[in-house]
């Protein structure tokens, strides 16, 4: 009945694991209690659980990402603490538990923080920048979100029932095989990646079709905002890279369930196949995350410098070049595999080449600011911090491209420092900058500037203190993923790194305080114009928050930054004549499928096959049932559109 789920699966093996479980359950219950106490279930049902509105879905993605950022960061704090404590003693985490912590940290930060954060920002912004009413496939969009949410649920519940993977976020066999890792941890990891990977692929398809088919009239490809370009390239990468991950984890799952020999060390299995497939996805993944962040920086720099982005067409070409080359560098993750010198040289050179378009972008951002009227909005802080720190990370990346150097730094803390140096200032700073930039568009009031700047300094200083020592420690010989260090020589730098983590903690607290203060003072910080930053692209030409249909009339575009041009000319934007507005009908089906996906995965992890079949049937039934729905949009009359526009609390956009 319950497969291998028994009472022993509850986390009573260590006080820390129990604490984590108690906090997870406690926060979950608290949220349910708050929703019930304030009678918010109806509101939640109408506005979020059943919505197909890309803006609401985007907001939900970002909420998930921020929650998981906190969860993943707690893991990071524990790792820093453990390594520091174990330099002169044993620390407080057992080896296996430490492995769970770093596996969860990596998995969460990549799959359930960075990826949903990206999907959320893009969901919210993309149709607005295109002058569209929604993404191409609103139902599929909601489905992607709910499947992502289901896999997030799977990772969270692994903290309470059973354990998480101990095989690292990359899950290399044969250690992740059933022989050496018979528990449920790796299965949790496999299913979470499988489901969220499928969801991300669907999101990529959705974004591609949206960009190809939903641009405002006159918006040719070379008039699209840079952010849209980066999303297009990022979506193409999703389309090509994610199938490799899907296959890799599916085959690993087969190895574990049916004792096949894809990646086993014996019977003709080939474990490097997994490593290859994983990184065929894994390296492009880094770029598909960082490209939209580059897009955010481009929007932020242009807006707050009061200038068109410098070298628009070079920016586009650099983005496309990164898209192509990103798929030709994966082998640099395992130069030590023992491939021939020629193979290693090819991938080493391609790795150096990809630095060129990235460097070009940095110059373009600087030239955009040059002789611009730069305003130091908080998003600019994140952007400037990114430009300084990211270049350091890029330089150490090119160092790794030199194969003999890589042999020496492979799997050391130097590598850990390098990729955090790309992902924290590159991806996370970008998404946070975007969050602070577009927040007023989403909610109609601006975020508190002072706490935003404090958060920035917490993150920037904390990041520097936490990871610069790791470069040194790596060169001194500290391997990554070490639970117990036993070397007092490493202690001083480990202490510095821990202090850095505490500074980042301050940065995270400041983000929370910023949100609280901003909501408290929202009356003073209302964005009545819809254009608080003197923006340049279409999303700023509509009220904040936008009505459900975004644009009452579809704008006509004749150049880059059409809204800035219209304001400069003192005239109005051009619009298509008013027509009927069609919006997707809300439905609970995506959430049903997402929850079923969660149940299905949970059942598979614990070998409860009856439940697995049941959940699969529900999903199949929901999909088939949905295929019978012909009219999935409703029409709004002109009067309803006008009423909705007035209903945006008088926040009619300047020129609408």
């Amino acid at each position: 009945m319950f497969g291998r789920l028994t009472f022993d699966s509850l986390p009573f093996y260590s006080i820390i694991a129990f604490g984590g479980a108690a906090i997870t359950v406690g926060v979950g219950l608290a949220i349910l209690a708050i929703l019930t106490w304030f009678r918010l279930w109806g509101w939640l049902w109408r506005n979020y659980l059943t919505t197909l509105d890309h803006k609401r879905i985007g907001i939900m993605y970002v909420v998930v990402a921020l929650v998981m950022l906190v969860r993943g960061f707690i893991d990071a704090l524990m790792m820093r603490g453990q390594q520091m404590a174990s330099a002169t003693g044993h620390g407080f985490l057992e080896g296996d538990h430490f492995q769970q912590v770093f596996s969860a940290h990596g998995t969460i930060m990549i799959f359930f923080m960075a990826t949903p954060f990206m999907a959320g920002l893009v969901n919210f912004v993309l149709p607005l920048q295109l002058g569209a009413r929604d993404v191409a496939f609103p139902f599929l969009n909601a489905l992607s979100f709910w499947l992502t949410a289901g896999s997030v649920g799977l990772v969270l519940i692994s903290l309470v029932i059973g354990v998480f993977s101990t095989a690292g976020w990359v899950g290399y066999p044969p250690y992740s095989g059933i022989e050496r890792n018979p528990g449920v941890g790796v299965d949790y990891w496999i299913w979470a990646l499988f489901i969220s990977g499928f969801a991300t692929t669907m999101t990529g398809i959705n974004f591609i079709v949206t960009i190809m088919r939903h641009r405002a009239p006159g918006m040719t490809y070379m008039r699209m905002p840079i952010f849209v370009w980066t999303v297009l390239c990022s979506s193409v990468i999703i389309l090509i890279a994610f199938p490799a991950l899907t296959v890799a984890v599916a085959l690993l799952g087969l190895d574990r369930l049916f004792l096949t020999h894809f990646f086993t060390a014996d019977h003709g299995g080939n474990l490097m196949n997994f490593t290859n497939m994983f990184w065929m996805w894994g390296h492009p993944e880094v770029y598909l995350l960082v490209l939209p962040a580059f897009g955010v920086f481009s929007e932020v720099v242009a807006t707050f410098s009061g200038k068109k982005i410098y070298g628009y067409s070079a920016m586009v070409k650099a983005t496309v070049l990164i898209m192509f080359v990103s798929m030709l560098v994966w082998l640099h993750h395992f130069f030590t595999m023992g491939a021939s010198a020629t193979v290693n040289a090819v991938f080493g050179i391609s790795t150096m080449i990809i630095g060129v378009p990235t460097g070009l972008k940095v110059f373009n951002w600087m030239f955009t600011m040059y002789r611009g009227r730069v305003r130091f909005h908080v998003s600019m802080y994140w952007t400037l911090g990114f430009m300084v720190l990211f270049v350091i990370g890029g330089a150490t990346g090119v160092m790794h491209a030199i194969v003999p150097v890589d042999y020496n730094t492979h799997n050391t803390a130097f590598l850990v420092a390098h990729f955090h140096n790309m992902l924290v200032p590159g991806v996370l700073f970008g998404f946070v900058a975007g969050y602070m930039y577009w927040f007023p568009k989403a909610f109609g009031f601006t975020l508190n500037q002072k706490w935003g700047i404090r958060a920035f300094w917490g993150w920037a200083i904390g990041f520097t203190l936490a990871f610069m020592p790791l470069y040194a420690l790596g060169l001194m010989g500290l391997p990554r993923r070490t639970a117990e260090i036993y070397n007092p020589d490493f202690l001083p730098l480990l202490i510095v790194a821990f202090i850095g983590a505490l500074c980042v903690l301050f940065g995270i607290v400041a983000l929370v305080v910023q949100l609280y203060v901003s909501i408290r003072d929202r009356a003073q910080n209302r964005d009545l114009t819809g254009d608080p930053w003197d923006g340049r692209t279409l999303e700023w030409s509509i009220p904040s928050p936008p009505p459900a249909f975004n644009f009452a009339r579809i704008p006509i575009v004749d150049q880059i930054d059409p809204f800035a041009a219209a304001k400069r000319a003192g005239g109005k934007m051009q619009y298509e004549p008013a027509g009927p507005v069609e919006l997707p009908v809300p439905t609970i089906v995506p959430m049903v499928i997402g929850v079923s996906g969660f149940v299905l995965s949970f059942a598979a992890v614990w070998y409860m096959w009856w439940l697995f079949v049941l959940a699969a049937l529900v999903m199949l039934g929901a999909v088939i049932g949905r295929s019978f729905v012909d009219n999935n949009e409703f029409r709004m009359s002109q009067r309803e559109v006008d009423a909705a526009l007035r209903g945006s609390a008088g926040r009619a956009g300047g020129v609408q």
């Binding site: 398809i205 088919r213 296959v247 085959l251 049916f258 003709g268 065929m280 088939i624 009219n631």
Partner: protein
């Protein structure tokens, strides 16, 4: 969204000029073309899935270990029969599309059943092959090679099974809804899927069965 739905002689007269002319509106045509594009893009990502599985199989041909070899196990005759059934089913699917677009519901339904019978025949042959392989000790646990074989051919077979479910749903929709524009739009995408599986199968025949028998 659907616009007017014509039936019977009226419909036939309309589609005689232009298959989609009698159906829907400009907006619904746009929706159809967007969904078609989305489905093409999806098929591209599915192509990558098969590409990775082919590459995996290619690498694992070096992983026979002490297990049985494909030369002993493959039957080119059966693979040829499977190929014939699947290719023929693509032709009959073309007949479904043709009949449906000319508004001949009964004929479309008939061709749909023929296509499903051919698909079922393919699946039956494949399952027989799998059962025999299991019996002869060449199951997916036999060696890395056989794992790779079952992953590739099995994934294709799974796709064919999903295609059968899609066709069954289309059959029900033919009967319940008639040949309305949304139904024809769905039929178009099921068709893309089905023809795509044919292409993949040609790859499997050429890169799995032929070299396996010749080796």
């Amino acid at each position: 969204m659907t616009g007017a739905t014509l039936r019977g002689a009226e419909l036939r007269a309309a589609v005689a000029e232009n298959p989609m002319a009698g159906l829907g509106t400009a907006a619904s045509h746009r929706v159809h073309s967007e969904r078609a594009l989305g489905f093409w893009v999806y098929l591209m990502s599915d192509t990558i899935i098969f590409a990775v599985l082919f590459a995996n199989y290619g690498v694992l041909t070096f992983g026979m270990a002490d297990g049985p070899t494909p030369h002993e196990m493959f039957s080119l005759g059966r693979a040829a029969q499977e190929t014939a059934l699947l290719l023929l089913s693509s032709l009959t699917f073309g007949m479904i599309s043709y009949s449906a677009l000319s508004g001949q519901k009964d004929r479309a339904l008939l061709w749909l059943i023929v296509t499903m019978v051919l698909g079922a025949g393919f699946l039956a042959l494949e399952l027989t092959e799998f059962r025999e392989l299991f019996a002869k000790g060449a199951g997916p646990q036999a060696s890395g090679f056989w794992s790779g074989f079952f992953a590739l051919v099995g994934t294709h077979g799974l796709h064919v099974a999903v295609g059968m479910i899609m066709m069954a749903v289309m059959g029900v929709q033919f009967v319940v809804k008639g040949l309305t524009e949304p139904v024809l739009s769905r039929l178009y995408r099921v068709g893309l899927f089905w023809h795509f599986l044919d292409l993949v199968w040609i790859g499997i025949f050429s890169f799995v069965y032929l070299p396996g028998v010749l080796s």
